[in-house]
Symmetry: C2
Subunit: 227 residues, 2 copies
């Protein structure tokens, strides 16, 4: 699943890709999240649940992830029981590494350490080749380490969704107001439900990483269109 | 719990009272419903969960029900395990009978026959004196018999909530565009998720009922303000 295509800054197709476990919350929480994004005219990718699903995630989904500015990952209780979700997450973390895609983890009725250390609801991953399971584990740990939002007990979901959308809007505004080479990585290890600070101390390093990411974008973009 | 006060058409305090089981959906479905009502600037009563709760529903809640134009009853799986909810429902059905309050039942992950015949999730009512339990049963049967909205399996909740709000808006518009004595009762036995037809055949009877209800309103209103 190496990135086959990286969008230039003007060729993103979506502002948001949402990775979620359909069985947990397609008709519930995630439907409200999509509706809230719609109300703010934030263009999110929505998969067609009627499409036939193979054993692997298809090229349409891979391209949707690659061409989204921000990936939101809704970690719910059964997220890690789906190899489909885990493959999506591996792809998302790959796009973060290569293109510096923004990733927002959302902890929905799960605790961050469950995802980080693969325990509790995240203790049992699906069967598969060991290298695949290792990539799932690395992606879970990597994503859980990013600045995310956590639904506190007794907090109304409607408020939480507004906070998620505000956070996405902030990220989108940062994207558009900052030169690509100066874009900052999400600060690891921050799990505030109020604000998400950025890792100012590593901005020099980030500049280098982003410059490399931009070259990667350019390189893959050229390959894609010269096929 | 006889109605102590009935508002004149200009003295309603709320447009909507929502009766729901907090343990089932205070932070989830109902929070989204309240948010959707807010977005349409529909004034709904919201109880304070921090208020101490006695064995019986308090005068503030009783007055909130009496002074709401429409009562929405969210029947969820544990609704009928709460004597608090059932007492609210008895009060709502009383206001419907006496003041012709509009009532919209919403079937959220429960089937209408469960509520109508008190079976399935509604088979076990709380303990209490037999006359109280009989009033709960009558209120459940009466409410389930009204035109309501049912969440179909696999339907996004966000869409369903929009439908509920549209239905409420329609009822409010009917209220304001129709002379009080011509207001119609909710048609019993209709459970469409599309439209709620009205019982035209009984409009003559309804006119009489509404005229009596208006006299009741007037009578109670006079008593209330002459205390």
């Amino acid at each position: 699943m190496a990135p086959s295509f990286a969008p230039s800054s003007s060729s993103y197709e979506y502002e948001v890709f949402v990775s979620f476990r359909g069985a947990d919350n397609r008709t519930g929480f995630t439907s409200h999240l999509f509706a809230a994004l719609d109300r703010k005219t934030i263009h999110a990718y929505k998969d067609d649940i009627n499409l036939p699903r193979g054993e692997k995630i298809g090229p349409e989904l891979l391209k949707a992830i690659e061409t989204s500015r921000i990936a939101v990952v809704v970690f719910s209780k059964k997220y890690a029981t789906s190899d489909w979700c885990l493959d999506e997450l591996v792809k998302i973390m790959e796009c973060k590494r290569v293109f510096n895609q923004r990733v927002l983890p959302v902890f929905y009725h799960v605790a961050q350490p469950e995802v980080l250390e693969q325990k509790g609801n995240f203790a049992e991953l699906p069967n598969g080749p060991e290298d695949k399971r290792n990539s799932w584990r690395a992606a879970l740990t990597g994503a859980a380490n990013l600045a995310g939002l956590h639904l506190e007990p007794n907090r109304p979901e409607s408020e939480f969704i507004e906070e998620i959308v505000e956070n996405i809007l902030k990220k989108l505004n940062e994207e558009s107001s900052t030169a690509p080479s100066l874009r900052q990585n999400d600060a690891p290890g921050q799990h505030s439900s109020a604000t998400i600070p950025h890792n100012d101390a590593s901005s020099g390093q980030n500049t280098t990483i982003n410059a490399i990411a931009d070259w990667n974008r350019f390189f893959f973009f050229k390959i894609f269109f010269s096929r």
